[in-house]
């Protein structure tokens, strides 16, 4: 399988406490991966390490530029990252200037469909609108790897139900996706693989295996693993 990204012996911690001690992970081309774990297990940290937003304390994160291509990695931004003076059109312009693979027409169409006005200031958008804007910006790029941290956060239940269809229709064929989410029930059928984070370690499993061998849904399996870790 084509490997887009490898993490070898990665160690990362904050304030003397380590979230990951010796993390080894591989992300392959074309796989949609669910990143699951309790709050504080390091989902956001892992995604930021993968995106290169933060450096590891030890170990290495190897990105295969030859396979990822010029486009590289598309990271789902947080609306709080935008400057206070920025309007929706400024964010589109920013992405258009910096990312060669950004499809402005696609972004504008998706914004129109979501009824998000280009002239509105980002800080005046509702939480759901802001999150949707960030998602539109991320999926309007033709990247090799998409990293999404709780993409459904702040969204209304109606859109959460459509999220799976939205992602499948917007993401290019063959793109790899790593998505941190708590919405296992709604999204687990989307995932080819899952990464379960617990105790500083990452357990990588194929969802097919969980269903066929364990005869459980991913959510049930995760809860069982979590409860076993809690009892140990």
């Amino acid at each position: 399988m084509d490997e887009l990204l490898q993490m070898r012996g990665v160690r990362k911690g904050y304030g003397g406490a380590y979230i990951f001690q010796n993390l080894d992970l591989t992300v392959s081309k074309g796989r949609i991966v669910g990143l699951i774990g309790d709050n504080g297990t390091g989902k956001t940290t892992l995604l930021r390490l993968m995106a290169g937003l933060i450096p590891p304390d030890d170990g290495e994160v190897i990105r295969q530029e030859s396979i990822l291509g010029k486009s590289g990695i598309s990271y789902l931004a947080d609306s709080s990252w935008f400057y206070g003076w920025m309007k929706v059109r400024d964010a589109v312009s920013f992405y258009s200037n910096f990312y060669q693979d950004f499809d402005v027409n696609k972004a504008r169409l998706l914004l129109q469909e979501s009824s998000i006005e280009p002239g509105k200031k980002i800080r005046h958008l509702s939480a759901g609108e802001a999150q949707r804007l960030c998602m539109i910006l991320a999926v309007s790029r033709k990247a090799g790897l998409y990293l999404m941290d709780e993409p459904a956060s702040g969204m209304d239940p109606a859109f959460k139900k459509k999220l799976k269809h939205f992602l499948l229709s917007c993401l290019p064929e063959g793109a790899a996706v790593i998505m941190a989410t708590h919405l296992l029930k709604d999204l687990e059928t989307l995932f080819d693989d899952v990464i379960l984070l617990k105790g500083g370690e990452a357990l990588c499993l194929r969802t097919e295996e969980i269903r066929e061998k364990c005869h459980k849904s991913v959510e049930e399996y995760y809860l069982e693993v979590r409860n076993n870790a809690g009892n140990a």
Partner: protein, 216 residues
């Protein structure tokens, strides 16, 4: 690099556009007011407010290039720009022209304000606003637009590794010491500028290296 330069200029214009327009309107107002306005009692608060605005603007304008450089490392907008993958040293290099453009405008506005305010002064009154710099305008411009932002950012990042809580103050001291040394001993000839360019380029490159390894 060009995209980052365009973005930095856009940011500066969007941040300060209304302040610059306000400045221009103030200068227009001062231009149309007759010289005798200084002798009218109720005009005094307006003239004093104008001189305060000019003074604060000049001071803030002087600090903006440095603030623009260092504020890149604040958490609010850091990740949005980091995601672009542009190397730190290129980002900092792109910030210099944006800061220089802003400073040029503020210095020109301050000098224009100084000239306009002078007409309101009468023999018995104090001057409303004047800008007296420690060096000539071009040297001051170079220091505030290039020297100080690069030096301060370099020390800021250097101390971020060791004394994060006091890095702002810690960066201030060596910057002031270096600048004082330059102003006391610099002959501002071609040798000085060549040496300064090399030193600043090294500081910029090293600052980028520190940021890429340690900053988050």
């Amino acid at each position: 690099m060009l995209a980052m330069l365009k973005w930095e200029i856009t940011k500066t214009v969007r941040r300060l556009g209304w302040i610059c327009i306000g400045y221009l309107l103030l200068l227009c107002l001062l231009w149309v007011l007759p010289a005798g306005a200084g002798r009218i009692g109720w005009m005094q608060p307006l003239l004093l407010t104008s001189s305060t605005f000019l003074a604060l603007g000049a001071f803030a304008g002087m600090l903006y290039p440095t603030w623009n450089m260092v504020s890149y490392f604040s958490k609010d907008s850091y990740f949005m720009e980091r995601l672009t993958g542009v190397p730190y040293w290129k980002v900092m290099l792109a910030k210099l022209p944006a800061g220089a453009g802003e400073l040029l405008f503020m210095m020109a506005a301050a000098r224009a304000g100084e000239a306009l305010m002078a007409k309101f002064c009468v023999a018995s009154s104090h001057g409303y606003f004047s800008m007296n710099l420690s060096a000539s305008d071009p040297v001051f411009f170079l220091e505030a637009a290039v020297f100080v932002p690069v030096m301060f950012t370099f020390f800021y990042l250097l101390f971020s590794e060791r004394i994060k809580s006091f890095r702002m103050f810690a960066a201030f001291l060596p910057t002031v010491i270096l600048l004082t040394g330059i102003n006391k001993n610099g002959d501002f000839g071609w040798k000085f500028y060549t040496g300064a360019a090399v030193l600043l380029a090294l500081m910029l490159w090293r600052a980028g290296g520190i940021a890429s390894k340690h900053y988050e």
